[in-house]
Symmetry: C2
């Protein structure tokens, strides 16, 4: 085979080492005579796989005592419901920062489930940057402040950690978790769909502070309850065992690469190289203000949109996959998560330069 | 490696051919230069994988026009919430048949979300059989009748299809779907967690009649809405792509084995052999009445419980895995789903005979 560079925004490229180990163990896990996906989730072997994954995630993110780590299903979109359901049982209003498509989806679901307050928005700026700290105005009854750390579609990220005083900070970290160091103790809830920096689609990580486990509305479905998941070790019912195992392999890979601090340095280098190539070109452009540019998702446009399909076809022929921007915005997008090697970004830049020369 | 026989109730044994094909394609799917788990769910390759899986499932179950097939997350336990949320928007009461642990869980969640009526129960009989048709008493405002086709823990199943007149029939078919032929047109909703007869844990199949898509309560979380899933081809957000792909491989395997009618014949043979071995023995027993015995999950007890741990240890040493009964009931349980070959059941019977001779 020839391994291609895959810039998909998610499900995203995984480390080759992880895939190869999964292949090696797929039919027979370490001589047990069966696959991980055939194991009882209550058996010793899987319990150890699950516990090791949590241990490694805790170590990678320096998750302090007093926080539970939940491995659940449904993606970040299910968390859009879980957050208001689990946090508004005592009343109050969910406050939301509006930074683009994903923030708006979280906000829409909060409204659908009863109401929400927009504490700041950059919609009027066409989401060219994230809301600034000084723009945040909480409602007097704010029960939490929710924000989207990295807008996967818009390519917008925060270069600071929003401050909300005593109000619990809730963060959708789907497309940035493990990509840089964070201070978990500053958060009430962090959630992330796995399919960018954690593993395959089908698993969602939720990190929740203990004191927030008992604020659920009574009508919260049991399977959406943080308390239920916490009390049952994320096994109120059968968890997505194989996805959990694969995430564990990714955590091991990341530890072997030196952990989050080390990969963050690589990520900054990759992004800086790609943005520089875009900015130095007359042929490509990225509209996001410097301080809000995502390190994980780099959207860009060709000056001449009529070349878009040609660009994508040539890129694919060159082994550079899934560079099409989200269908809602068009253009291009290169997602360069942890598992995208620097050579992949270099290959993309070389390709972009060549394409610009041929068509510029 | 030596492949063992795995009697786990779920996650359950998968066909070896499926695991081997998954291994072969894991790192590079058909020369595409990436794994299925790294593909965009909106790309042509995955769309084809997803559509083929649905086509094959429709063919295997002869699902008629007028039914949607949804591939969602959260397991049957999430469906315990989805059923009342999606079907009670027009008022009325969910009616439930109580046949054991799983029926009771579905019922408990319906009560948690607002109330339910028990239309029949065999709790007083210790769940030694399923409720009979003549025992079913619907409430006057019945909005649906829910039953659990096969009690995975109790080993109790229905040998008839409950009749509810005009009231939509809703069935948790998690541990029996694809194990025998069914007439889908008799049902309003069928749901099933994948991890028994369909594939790995982390995917749930819901088959829902079109006219039931618009009865949801307004507070239904978007990700739990049948209508949303149907309108978005089960891709309101990123689906569990790799689990979906693996389920598709299982469907192809089942078609190659001759489909549901052919496997049903094998299943009947396997179950008949095992129950006969239990019944003919003084050493083992199964308490379920003949007409309600599960073809998929065969619980049994040793006359002398003090030998349980020895039995399990010897079985494991003989390559017969996960025979321990559910922690809530103890004893033994052999789950003999579609992917358990007849040789596995024969090996189990041989082992049981030998154990009984040594310790009887």
């Amino acid at each position: 085979m020839s391994r291609h560079f895959n810039f998909c925004s998610g499900p995203a490229t995984l480390p080759l080492e992880v895939l190869e180990r999964a292949r090696e163990e797929l039919v027979d896990y370490q001589g047990r005579g069966l696959s991980v996906m055939e194991m009882s989730h209550r058996g010793d072997d899987f319990i150890e796989i699950a516990a090791r994954a949590e241990r490694n995630l805790r170590e990678l993110l320096s998750i302090p005592e007093g926080y539970r780590v939940l491995f659940v299903q449904g993606g970040a979109s299910t968390q859009f419901s879980c957050v208001p359901l689990n946090l508004l049982g005592g009343g109050g209003t969910g406050n939301y920062l509006d930074s683009g498509v994903w923030a708006k989806k979280a906000l829409a679901e909060a409204r659908h489930l009863g109401g929400a307050h927009v504490a700041a928005s950059t919609a009027d700026l066409g989401y060219r940057r994230a809301p600034a700290q000084g723009e945040i105005v909480l409602s007097p009854d704010a029960a939490f402040l929710h924000y989207t750390d990295n807008e996967t579609i818009g390519g917008v990220a925060y270069d600071y950690l929003p401050e909300a005083g005593d109000v619990p900070l809730v963060c959708d970290m789907s497309s940035s978790i493990l990509g840089r160091e964070i201070d978990v103790s500053r958060f009430g809830v962090i959630y992330a769909g796995a399919q960018k920096n954690i593993g395959p689609a089908g698993l969602t990580v939720v990190i929740v502070r203990d004191d927030l486990l008992d604020r659920a509305r009574p009508e919260t479905p049991q399977m959406l309850s943080y308390r239920q998941a916490a009390d049952h070790g994320s096994m109120l019912n059968t968890p997505p065992t194989y996805a959990w195992y694969l995430c564990g392999l990714v955590f091991e890979w990341l530890k072997a690469r030196g952990g989050v601090a080390a990969i963050a340095e690589v990520n900054r280098r990759k992004a800086a190289r790609l943005y520089a190539a875009i900015d130095q070109s007359e042929f490509y452009s990225n509209p996001i203000e410097a301080g809000s540019r995502s390190v994980m998702n780099v959207p860009f446009r060709l000056r001449d949109e009529s070349l878009d399909q040609r660009f994508l076809a040539d890129a694919e022929a060159a082994g550079l996959l899934y560079l099409q921007g989200h269908r809602s915005v068009g253009g291009m997008r290169a997602s360069i998560y942890n598992a995208m090697p620097e050579e992949g970004v270099e290959a993309l830049i070389d390709f972009m330069d060549g394409f610009a020369r041929r068509h510029g």
